[in-house]
């Protein structure tokens, strides 16, 4: 495949601008291939038998809901090669991510898998304006960490001069940026801020002394304000990247130049958003867990992989001309979900409401406890800041208003407590403790 002309806004125009109907047809075709491949994997063969599914029953993308889910634990339980659908001699690369508990997970790639991965990353980079004339510097860790090699191959696929700077040694990163004329940089957001700080200390003005133009950021949650600050400081446009090592790594989803949601490549994945408890699909636009089915993987196809990442699908068309759906910024992990009186509650929902009140800070503490006669209840402690009104009636009204808005959002009535600034507990890493579960389990 040849590189398109630099004036083209798309790296692969036909695939990127494919109509929704076109995407569904392509997905249906590829899902059938994927299911046939999965039938070579003992884990899926057993599941198919259990569910009474024959590969030939899966005909269209809508049939995906008949298929079994796959979890990270499943991958761990079949460490190291249990999910391979091809002989190991056909595989050319292995990536592994260590877990805090149990076995690590292993992801295998054939040459064709690596090519598809590089193409996906190249599409993303091209989408945010990277071109063969650019110099790309990757300050992600290499080795097993997929953002190193993932961006490396993608950037080379675009045709950029690519600098595998790897993580750390900020002075050297800055020297490379200046000496090599780096115009596109990949870094995690906190490291991008660090680079700027050190530039400042060294008297380097990024606008005057560097050619930096585009920054790709990911791997670490960050707010829109943080992004805007990084853009302002470094004089760049910063784009969010979403990767997941079990899928391949970077290249799964990426923001386009609209900076409004991350396009997820639907010719690579079937995208579902499900309720983390019932595993039923939620309506478009609603928050839930991202579930992905791979469509282009040979060595290790995965069906309905539960990413544990919470997001929602943004409705409507994107002005950039790509019909691949857009995911909202990742909004935490489904492991953070609270179930209270049978209702699913995500801390992010509470955060969103609290942000609207100028009288209170952004820190909060959710406490779940069991009360005699009342069952499980939830209280939300919020910090009063310096714009509180000096009278109890107003403070009471504030409490009531927060309670009312929270109830409308999460559908249970929490007990809201106003507390003074600086009194909410912090964990050892100085990170705010958000949820305390003191419920009695029967």
């Amino acid at each position: 495949m040849k590189t398109p002309d630099s004036s083209s806004p798309y790296f692969q125009p036909e695939l990127e601008t494919l109509s929704v109907e076109g995407l569904r047809a392509l997905q249906s075709e590829r899902l059938q291939q994927t299911v046939r491949r999965c039938a070579q994997v003992p884990f899926y063969r057993d599941k198919f038998a259990e569910l009474g599914i024959r590969p030939e029953d899966i005909k269209s993308v809508d049939d995906v809901t008949k298929l079994p889910f796959t979890t990270k634990d499943d991958l761990r339980d079949h460490y190291p090669f249990g999910f391979a659908s091809v002989p190991l001699r056909d595989c050319v690369r292995l990536h592994s991510s260590s877990g805090t508990t149990g076995n690590p997970t292993v992801v295998l790639h054939t040459q064709s898998d690596l090519d598809a991965w590089a193409e996906a990353v190249a599409r993303c980079l091209w989408m945010v304006g990277a071109r063969p004339d650019d110099v790309f510097q990757n300050s992600a860790g290499y080795g097993m960490f997929t953002a190193g090699l993932g961006f490396q191959y993608g950037a080379e696929r675009v045709g950029m001069l690519t600098v595998p700077a790897a993580a750390g040694n900020t002075l050297r990163q800055i020297k490379f940026i200046r000496d090599f004329g780096t115009s596109v940089l990949h870094a995690i957001p906190s490291y991008a801020s660090r680079i700027f700080e050190v530039m400042n200390e060294q008297g380097v003005d990024p606008r005057r002394d560097t050619k930096l133009r585009v920054l790709c950021i990911g791997a670490e949650p960050h707010s829109e304000e943080q992004r805007r600050r990084i853009e302002e400081n470094l004089g760049v446009k910063a784009y969010n990247s979403y990767g997941i090592s079990e899928m391949m790594g970077p290249g799964v989803a990426f923001e386009c130049q609209e900076q409004n949601g991350l396009h997820i490549w639907e010719d690579y994945f079937i995208v579902e958003i499900v309720d983390p408890v019932t595993l039923e699909r939620v309506p478009d636009g609603q928050l839930g867990e991202l579930v992905l089915t791979t469509l282009r993987r040979e060595a290790m196809p995965l069906l309905r992989y539960r990413t544990r990442d919470l997001t929602r699908i943004l409705p409507g068309d994107c002005p950039c001309g790509r019909h691949h759906v857009r995911l909202a910024r990742l909004q935490g992990r489904s492991d953070d979900m609270i179930i209270l009186k049978g209702v699913n509650i995500f801390p992010i929902q509470i955060e969103k409401i609290l942000l609207q009140f100028k009288e209170i800070g952004t820190d909060y503490l959710i406490t779940l406890e069991t009360r005699e006669g009342e069952g499980d209840i939830m209280s939300v402690d919020v910090e009063v800041n310096n714009v509180f009104t000096d009278d109890y009636a107003t403070l009471k009204r504030l409490e009531h208003e927060i309670t009312r808005q929270l109830r409308d959002e999460i559908l249970v009535t929490p007990r809201v407590r106003l507390v003074p600034k600086g009194t909410l507990p912090v964990s050892d890493e100085k990170k705010a403790v958000r949820v305390r579960d003191l419920r009695k389990l029967f």
Partner: protein, 142 residues
Amino acid sequence: MTIRQVSIFIENQSGTLQKVLELIKRSRIQIIASTLADTADYGIYRIICNEPERACLELKEAGVAVTISHVFAVELDNRPGGAADVVARFSEAGVGISYMYAFVIEGRGILIFRTDQTEEAEKVIASNGLHALSESELPMQY
């Protein structure tokens, strides 16, 4: 004529009151009058002091939730029922009082109260020949 009052949000169990008093002591701010009212979970500690802006800044810097509000300080007749008569004038005129407290300086009783109807309160004060203290009339040191 109103004076500035420093209002501090404190929680009953958390030791904020102790912290606040320590801070005020260390910054050598003089408290002229104060009151602490509490509800089940939290309280507002209200202070009339000699340097309200500085007090507010220092407390803010120490991470305390604090705000400045404007209150009336009306002099009372030194006789039984003095406060009742003053309050009656305001309620007759339909001026709502959100809270009040009293203290004595140099033998004079002073009633501090807060209302959202500042203009109406000014009228009541003028038409009844009451005296609302300005900050310059507060005792600066002992």
